[in-house]
C-alpha cells in the first residue's frame, strides 16, 4: 500500500499541478480544462453509456487484431526458423515491411473493408504481426540443439519437437515481441478510429474535439492512456508468470 503510494506519487503530483495551473489561471481553460472538470465529464460519459459502448468497440478490435497477429506471427516466425524455403520466401517481405510506418495502412484497410470493425482488425493484425514474427523467428532459431536432440531421443517426432522444444525456447522472445505489438496496437487503434471510424475511443476523441467539448475529450484521452497502461501492467504480470522458470 505504502509502496504503491510512493510509486504513483509522481502521478499524484502531476494531477495536483494540473489542477493548480488551471485554477490559478496560469494555463487557460480553453487550452486545458481543469482536472476536476475532466473528471466530472468522465463520470457523465460513463453514466450516459457512450464511453462504455465505444470502449467495448475499441477493445474488441484490438483484442481480435492482436490475437490474430500473435497466432499468425508466432506460427510464421517458427516455420521461417525451421524450414528454409519458408524463410527464403517470407524473410525479404518481413524485412521490407518491418520498418514501414504501419499507420500508412489506415487508408488502405479502410478502402478494402470500410469504416467498421473489419478494417481496424486487419490494420492491427498487419501492423502487430511483424514484431511477433521476428520474436518467434529469433527465439526459435536460437533454440538449443541439444534440447531438440534430447526430445527426439525420447521419442518425439520432428513435428512434435516444434511444440515441445522450439516453441517454449522461443517463448521469451515471442513475449517480448507481443509486448511491442501491444503498445503498437493502441497507437494503430486510436489513429485509425480518429481517421476512419464511426465508433470507438479514437472516434469519440475526434468527435468531441470537433464539437469543442474539451473536458469530455480530455476524459476520453485519459481513458485511452489508462487502458494502455493497464494492459501493459497486466501483460507484464502474465509474462512473469509464464516465464517464471527463467528467474
Amino acid at each position: 500500500m505504502k509502496a504503491a503510494l510512493v510509486r504513483y506519487a509522481p502521478l499524484l503530483i502531476l494531477a495536483a499541478a494540473w489542477e493548480a495551473a488551471v485554477r490559478s489561471g496560469v494555463v487557460s481553460e480553453l487550452v486545458l480544462p481543469s482536472l476536476t472538470d475532466v473528471v466530472s465529464a468522465w463520470v457523465k460519459l460513463l453514466r450516459g453509456g457512450d464511453l462504455w459502448l465505444n470502449t467495448a468497440a475499441s477493445l474488441y478490435r484490438t483484442g481480435a487484431g492482436l490475437l490474430l497477429a500473435i497466432a499468425v506471427g508466432g506460427v510464421l516466425g517458427i516455420t521461417m526458423a525451421w524450414w528454409r524455403p519458408v524463410n527464403a520466401l517470407a524473410s525479404p517481405l518481413v524485412e521490407m515491411l518491418y520498418p514501414m510506418p504501419k499507420s500508412a495502412l489506415i487508408p488502405v484497410t479502410a478502402l478494402w473493408l470500410g469504416f467498421g470493425d473489419g478494417s481496424k482488425i486487419l490494420l492491427i493484425f498487419l501492423g502487430c504481426m511483424l514484431p511477433v514474427t521476428l520474436g518467434a523467428f529469433n527465439g526459435a532459431r536460437a533454440s538449443d540443439q541439444a534440447l531438440v536432440w534430447s526430445s527426439r531421443s525420447m521419442g518425439a517426432s520432428r513435428l512434435r519437437v516444434l511444440w515441445d522444444v522450439v516453441l517454449p525456447s522461443a517463448l521469451p522472445e515471442i513475449m517480448n515481441g507481443v509486448r511491442t505489438a501491444l503498445a503498437l496496437s493502441f497507437v494503430l487503434l486510436v489513429s485509425s478510429e480518429l481517421i476512419a471510424a464511426r465508433s470507438g475511443l479514437g472516434y469519440l476523441i475526434g468527435f468531441l474535439g470537433e464539437g469543442g467539448v474539451y473536458d469530455a475529450m480530455f476524459a476520453v484521452v485519459l481513458t485511452v492512456a489508462f487502458l494502455g497502461f493497464f494492459a501493459d501492467r497486466v501483460y507484464q504480470r502474465l509474462e512473469r508468470r509464464v516465464l517464471r522458470w527463467r528467474e
Binding site: 534440447l147 536432440w149 534430447s150 531421443s153 525420447m154
Partner: protein, 264 residues
Amino acid sequence: MAGTSQIVIDQVSHTYRPPRGREVLALQDVSLEVRGQEFIALLGPSGCGKSTLLYLVGGFLPATLGTIRVDGKPVSGPGPDRGIVFQHFALFPWKTVRANVLYGLEKLGLPRAERERRAQAFIDLVGLHGFEESYPSHLSGGMKQRAAIARTLAIDPEILLMDEPFGALDAQTRSLMQSELLGIWQRSPKTVIFVTHDVQEAVYLAERVVVMSARPGHVKAIVDTRFGCSDPSVFKSKAFVDKVDEIWGLVRDEALKAQGNQSP
C-alpha cells in the same frame, strides 16, 4: 567374443562443416563393436571426438563415411532405444525436475500412475528428493547432471549413451552414483557407452576401456578391464592399480599429442 555385437561402428569418419568457419575432421576411421549388455568406457583427450561418436550412435548426426549399425539395422535417426545423457545436461529449462523426468515417460505412453511412480523412484535414486518442483536454473551443476541422469535412466533404454555423466559431481556423490549405475546395470542389463576423463572410473565401471587418439579421433587401444567385482576395495588391488597405470600411459601420450596439435 561371446554374444553378438549389438552396436557395430564400421570405419566411421565425421567431418563438421559449420556454415561459417573451417571444416573439422573430428573422427577418422573409427571401428568398434559393442556386445549386447556390455559396459564400455571411452577415454581420450579433450576434443578427440568422444561426444561426436556418441551423437553418431545416437543418430543425431550422420556419419560422413562408414556405417553404424544397431541390432543389425543402420542408424538413421534418434530413437528411445538409445537413451543419452548429454555432457551439458540438456534439461528443458521450462520444466521442473519432475516434469523433465516425466517427459520421456509420457512419450513411452505409460499409464499416469506408473509414470509418476517411476519418476519419483529415479528422482529419489539420484538424491534429488525435495527438488522435484525446482526449475533447472535453480539447481547446481551437479544437481542438474543428476536430474539429467534420472530422466534418461527412467525410460530404461536398451542402450545407454553417457557423456561424462558424473563430471560435475563431487567425489562422494560420484562414488555413490557409480555404485547406483552398476547396480542398475546388473539388475536390468543394458549396453552402456560411458565417456569419461577419469581413468579410475573407467577401469572400475567398464568391462572394456576404449582409448581414443588425439583429433582426428580413432580407436588407439582397447583394454579388457573385467575384475568381476564391484566391491570398492577393488581400488586397492594390485591388478586394478596396474590397469589404471597402463591406461593412464596410453591416455597421457594422446593428451600430449593433442596439446602439440594446438600450438602452431
